[in-house]
């Protein structure tokens, strides 16, 4: 039982005035779990949109959003706060506040960065007409965005944000995350079918084919971690990656074995495909299918789809960090955080996870503005002929490593998280676990390069001599 659980029980008991019924429990869950997570993830996803636009602009030598600052929202805030004053008075106070030097420069910077853009976009989306096409299947069409959002949000239940911050602590957390995010498939199919448009239908079909195929490498990648850790409990997996001392980085799964590193890469690539991000954005390929499954959507419903996409990106980042990059643990030792009082420790852990998630998020954007889009058959080929074999080889390698290392023992754990045993390798064993596969791989790569590596001289000329 962690902090969330206590809070829910306490609140429910208080609401019900005794033994809580299901209504009280629901309200308590909403209040303690759902609303805070929404409040946390929504703004991040919205800010992500700004960030994406700015990054795209910078990569493409544009300026990006540059006019909407934060003064509008701020003025609104003043209006609300000072509702008891006459309007002129409110404005005067607001103006005085804005003229404070740091505030003014901050507002200018926010305008330059277009920080207010997401507020403006939100208002615009709320104000737009909600169009349901004539040929659409009304209920299916209307329901789809909510399902997509639900599918993107639900897995956050099992992601540990800190030692005391996991909503649902369960033995099958990893399985739950994968299973629940499968709702998105249904949602996209509903959107594609319900729109009554051929472009949408094709987009929906592509989305389903792609998502279903990429569940496999994702599942296998998670399976590799489960094989290594011996548990499906995400919180326990995080706990296992604990390494005492300053070099706690060495405890992360990704540095345990080259096979786990491969699995991390596979997980990231498959995750990209799961979020329908470029280069896997065939489902909404704007140059082929106009906009794919969300061609016919407008206003808030379209916004929900966009939000679901960003939320899913955050989710993939969170899962990647949790499974392979030590979750909420810092790379420079954990003891100094664990020793802190709870009210300090929780936000620090959350921030560390946030940094990892945002890094993944940024890399995803960077990729989006770099790479072209795959074709349908190539996406399938990548999944079944590249990623799945890689996963299988890696799992095999992991199993061999585990056997060679001679079983597991109870590792050290910290805090209130029950940690499970983790493979115990001697440092020589670690070295061998890296050296052997890397050497074999390098040999193969060199041989492959020798056999197939010739580049056409014209292409060499185009790229300035080197390919």
């Amino acid at each position: 039982m962690n902090g969330f659980g206590y809070a829910v029980d306490a609140l429910a008991a208080w609401l019900a005035g005794g033994e809580p019924g299901w209504i009280a429990l629901t309200i308590a869950v909403l209040a303690v779990w759902v609303v805070p997570i929404l409040l946390l993830v929504f703004p991040i996803a919205a800010l992500g949109q700004i960030l994406e636009r700015k990054i795209a602009a910078a990569i493409q030598r544009r300026v990006g959003p540059s006019s909407a600052g934060l003064d509008g929202p701020l003025r609104f805030g003043f209006r609300v706060l000072l509702f008891f004053l006459p309007r002129a008075r409110q404005d005067r106070i607001f103006a005085a506040f804005c003229n404070l030097r740091p505030v003014r420069s901050l507002l200018l910077v926010s305008r330059r960065l277009g920080l207010g853009q997401f507020v403006a976009d939100g208002i615009k989306m709320l104000g737009k007409e909600d169009i349901v096409p004539t040929g659409a299947d009304g209920i299916v069409f209307r329901l789809a965005p909510y399902l997509a959002l639900a599918g993107a949000f639900l897995p956050f239940c099992v992601v540990p944000f800190g030692q005391h911050l996991v909503m649902l602590e369960t033995e099958v957390a990893a399985l739950f995350a994968i299973a629940v995010s499968g709702i998105v498939v249904v949602a996209l199919k509903m959107a594609g079918w319900g729109s009554g448009s051929k472009w949408s239908l094709l987009g929906g079909m592509r989305a389903v084919a792609q998502l279903v195929s990429y569940e496999v490498p994702i599942g296998l990648a998670v399976g590799g971690v489960v094989l290594w850790c011996g548990t499906m409990d995400l919180h326990a997996i995080v706990g296992q990656q604990y390494e005492p001392g300053v070099f706690s980085l060495l405890g992360w799964n990704v540095v345990q074995s080259p096979f786990l590193a491969t699995l991390a890469a596979v997980f990231f690539i498959a995750g990209l495909a799961e979020c329908q991000r470029s280069p896997f954005d065939m489902a909404e390929a704007e140059s082929e299918l106009v906009s794919g499954f969300n061609t016919e959507y407008s206003g808030l419903r379209w916004g929900l789809f966009a939000m679901a996409e960003y939320t899913e990106m955050l989710l993939i980042g969170a899962l990647l960090a949790t499974l392979f990059f030590g979750g909420y643990q810092s790379p420079i030792g954990e003891e100094w955080i664990v020793g802190l009082p709870v009210w300090l420790e929780v936000p620090i852990h959350g921030a560390i996870l946030g940094v990892k998630v945002v890094t993944v998020f940024l890399v995803m954007m960077w990729i989006r503005w770099t790479l072209p889009r795959f074709r349908v058959d190539q996406v399938m080929r990548l999944s079944w002929l590249v990623l799945v074999p890689m996963c299988l080889v890696s799992m095999f390698g992991l199993a061999v490593t585990l056997l060679a290392a001679g079983g597991t023992h109870a590792g050290e754990a910290f805090g209130r998280v029950a940690s499970r045993p983790r493979p115990d390798l001697h440092w020589l064993g670690h070295l061998a676990a890296w050296a052997v596969p890397v050497a074999i791989g390098a040999c193969l790569v060199v041989m492959a390069k020798k056999k197939h590596g010739q580049v056409h001289p014209a292409l060499q000329r185009l790229t300035g001599g080197r390919s």
Partner: protein, 281 residues
Amino acid sequence: MILAWIHDVVEAVQSCVSGMRTTGRFLVENLRGEGGAMSATREYPEQPAEVVGDRQRGHLVNDADRCIVCHACDTVCPVDCFKMDGERDGDNKMRASRFDIDLSKCIYCGLCVRACPTDSLSMTRTFEMDPQHEGKRFLFRRNSKQVDVRFDAPEMERLHALAAQPREALSAEDRAWLDARIDDRGQHLIGIYGLGFFTPEQKAEADAAREAKKKAKDAAAAAAKAKAAAAAAAAAPKPASVPAPAAGATPAAPAAPPAAPGAPPATKSGPDAASGGSPTP
């Protein structure tokens, strides 16, 4: 087969990483503002487009004082955008009593400017054309029936005076008079003769350009003369070719001082005058 597979994977990773390095460099460059990166786009209304070169084909305007109504422009115009009438003045010289340029037809090809024997037609270096704002006094929207309505000089003056005022401020009589001649929803955007220049600065600029052109012509003629006269063939081309292009390239330079003081206060011609005054680097 396995080797081919491995090679494909490795190559894919390599090429993607190389692409990401490239975009990463773009990103860093742009954030640092290097390599003219930020200047690739311009935030248009705040940052007006700069006028480059002195051959800009902006607006087509006619300096009615010089026009001799020879119809050379009319003949050469591929789209028939001119309507002109002439009359003899006291000195028995042809003067334009009407010179309308249908700017909704004009394709800014510049053939008429090349054809004009008196250099009365010219193209301005500014190209902002918004009849609701600064163009209001000089460009009028008219419908096809109104296109054939002619103005004499006093009528023109009245028209400009009325068009410069807000509509609400006009008397009913004036409004009716104006409505008969211009129609804000009309499809023809007409630049009307004589006052074709949007601002006095533009007029000055065009005059300066003409002057410079003439000077360059004279200089070239003089150079040619000198060249023909001078027996030393080797020495002649150098001094001949140097001054002439310099004069031609900076048309505003000799005449800029009188025009420049007036230019900066005028809002739109600021960058224009600046780039006109300084020779292109």
